[in-house]
């Protein structure tokens, strides 16, 4: 076989130029975001002495983990053309469940952790099943969960924190390994796994196919329902995992934890260039999006901006970032035709 004939990059001249442009439109997103991030860091470094310290950098990574651990799974969900807005309450709920299992019922910690993770996956799978089997829009299914999980967590705890039993594992998970927050390490490991799954596995590519054209995917025999169930199961499991991290950080299960997390996650994914319409997006983009949003939050706190005004600034910057993305993408499309 004349493999060399069609090896990447050696194709016929007229069409390669087109490919180069379509490639850059994705890289443009990521490159532009990276530049924005650097500018932001430089500006903040000049504005505040504390911002550029090593301690603060590690703190930023630790905070980023509180979004990132869920954001990788959410990226796949959104690439598939779905959405999971239940992650914030899910994190709170599972942190409460862990505390109940470990603190109140005195279940051994490994068992409690396992039950929490499996529970998260099962609740997610249920949401995915409602979507896949009955066609209930995932926004509605997860909106229901969003309300129900937070309510259930508050009902179980009377909205009071439930202490977890003293545990070196949870302390470590909520604390640091050397100077590095353990949650940041977890986030980076998960990032590598998810990036690999998205790019290099049949499952990951099928997710892109389902998001890009679900009908075509169905007609090629891809089990679209199973993929949707797995997507939401993964998202649920990651929310439960983040719940465990929260329990470690706060040394308690807290029904009020992770308020507005779904907002930060979706913002990070979209700022990272993933299309809400599905079919397009990358883990690297989401990583940059997570960092972008975390740095903004960190900077606003350090600069002492009024916390209500912080929300306003954050909202404005997110829309601006996506707007610039769209303008770049449109320009890229215009030149490629």
């Amino acid at each position: 076989m004349t493999t060399t004939n069609v090896a990447p990059g050696t194709g016929a001249a007229p069409t390669t130029s087109r490919r180069r442009i379509s490639l850059t439109s994705q890289q443009l997103n990521e490159g532009g975001l990276a530049v924005a991030l650097i500018v932001l860091v430089v500006v903040l470094s000049f504005s505040s002495d504390y911002f550029a310290t090593v301690d603060n950098m590690w703190a930023i990574l630790g905070d980023a983990a509180l979004v990132g651990i869920v954001a990788w799974a959410s990226t796949l969900v959104i690439v598939a053309g779905e959405i999971d807005i239940s992650v914030g309450p899910a994190v709170a709920f599972w942190s409460v469940i862990l505390a109940e299992l470990n603190g109140k019922i005195d279940l051994p910690l490994p068992v409690a952790v396992l039950v929490t993770l499996v529970g998260g996956a099962l609740v997610g799978a249920f949401a995915g099943w409602l979507r896949a089997r009955f066609g209930v829009p995932s926004f509605i299914v997860t909106l229901g969960l969003w309300s129900a999980l937070r309510g259930l967590a508050q009902f179980l705890t009377n909205a009071l924190p439930i202490p977890v039993g003293p545990s070196p594992f949870l302390d470590r998970l909520g604390g640091k390994i050397g100077p590095v927050p353990a949650s940041a390490i977890l986030m980076i490991v998960l990032f590598l796994i998810f990036a690999f799954v998205a790019q290099r596995t049949a499952y990951g590519r099928s997710v892109y196919a389902v998001g890009g054209n679900a009908r075509a995917a169905l007609l090629t025999g891809i089990n679209v329902s199973r993929i949707r169930v797995i997507l939401f199961a993964t998202s649920g499991a990651m929310a439960a995992l983040l719940g465990i991290v929260f329990a470690g950080r706060l040394a308690s299960g807290n029904s009020g934890a992770a308020q507005g997390l779904e907002f930060s996650v979706i913002a990070a994914v979209v700022v990272g260039g993933t299309s809400l319409a599905g079919g397009r997006g990358s883990m690297l983009g989401t990583l940059l999006g997570v960092l972008f949003i975390t740095v903004i939050g960190n900077g606003l706190v350090i600069l002492g901006v009024n916390s209500y005004v912080q929300d306003v600034v954050r909202g404005g910057l997110i829309v601006a970032a996506v707007l610039i993305n769209m303008l770049l993408a449109n320009r890229g499309r215009a030149t490629s035709h």
Binding site: T10, A12, R19, T201, Y208, A209, N213
Partner: protein
Amino acid sequence: MTTTTSTASVASRDPGTPIAVIDSASKRYGGVQALRDVSLSIAPGEVRALLGKNGAGKSTVIRLLSGVEEPDSGSVVLAGTALGRGGVKLAQQLGVRTVYQELSLIPDMTVAENLFMGAWPRRAGQIDRRRMARVSTEALARLELDLDPRVPVSQLSIADQQMVEIARALSQDPALLILDEPTSSLAAAEVDRVLQSVQRIRSAGVAVVYVSHRVSEIRQVADTATIMRDGEVVDTVPMSGVATTDIVRMMVGDADLETPLVTSATERGPVVMRVEGVTVVPKLVDVTFDVHAGEVLGLAGVLGSGRTELLAVMAGLARADSGSVVVDGQRVDGQGLRHAMSLGIGVTPENRKEDGIVPDLGVDENLVLTDWKKVTHRGVISTRRLAAAAARAITSMAVRTGSAHTPIGTLSGGNQQKVVIGRWLHAGSRVLLLDEPTRGVDVQAKAQIYELLRALARDGVAVVFVSSEMDELPLVCDRALVLNGGRIRDEQVTPHIRTDQLLLAAIVEH
């Protein structure tokens, strides 16, 4: 041009000036000459049938009359006014209304709301529902339609929806009503209602352009027929004085007989798929045939002939009400696509863009979607094996693409189609069900696809080639079946497949 004589004959019956005149219009789309020096003239109260194979130029004529396109040369004159660059807006002002094949009603809105779409009557800033209902009832009554205007359109039958669409066009007092295959999705009894309403419209002095493949229908409703071929008007004839065989001869022409036919059938292998007495109410009646390994079997039929339903049954997507489709002793129909795939059946959909490709994924990934296992190890993609599989397919099918990673959405239609077929070869399918595989594909790519299918048949694959373009069947098929009204009306074997015979069997109502 014979147009003048027919205009004269029409004029003798109706002395009014023609409502629409196209004068020696030509139109090119890129490299394709869609219309060449076309002239025709339609008088008020005349029902004019527009006949021709796919690609003959009928749609372009409709687009000129309704102002969607303007001719490169020549002119369009409506009610004595040259359309020029006036576009759709001016055409509408001059009284042209078009009812397209695809319904354009909003399903969740009521009949009345749809009838007044965008121009709802208002009183004191509010929509005047009472007036809307009254005027709607009148408009429906004019077509003798007994429908409640307050009912959402989605609750109506397809025929009633079609009638509402026609009523909407009529409620704006058109001078020229264009109906583009208004009956293609309807059953026989419903067709009669549409035809009756056309008669009623005509008696009100409205000119009607009626596009349809069904000759018997046209005989009931049209005064004259303009027959087109390859972008030219062959003739305009009164329907009363012309035999159906003559119409078909004019549609097909003589040129097609010179094109290279499949002269030698490939060696036919054993039966791989049995279609036995398949009936799907109301679209298919007792359809029986075998598909052999190593043959290209054509399935011809115009829109609404039941070909879509038949293919769905053969692919396992739909269940036969009676009868069955069997492969290797196992039932296929109604068992789902994945079961069909496991029996070696592959399907390429009619709408390549909507149902076939994943536009943002590369050619390579689009090729292997049907079977990741061949390029993965425990779910992890082997870059090397993916590249090899893609290279093999790209080379063997001569797919023109920058690289294997190029997003398939940027390829031409013909190359996209090759990839869509290629993914079933990757899956190792033995029976390929191809629904209109050459639609929207340029001439050169068509020839390449025919060649590819012949080569596959030689290798023992069974290819079922569904097409509404009768003239391509002799070019690629060993055997052709003609579907009409849900039954198989004709079977022809190479080298005796003749386009005109196929077309006759496909369009004559039995």
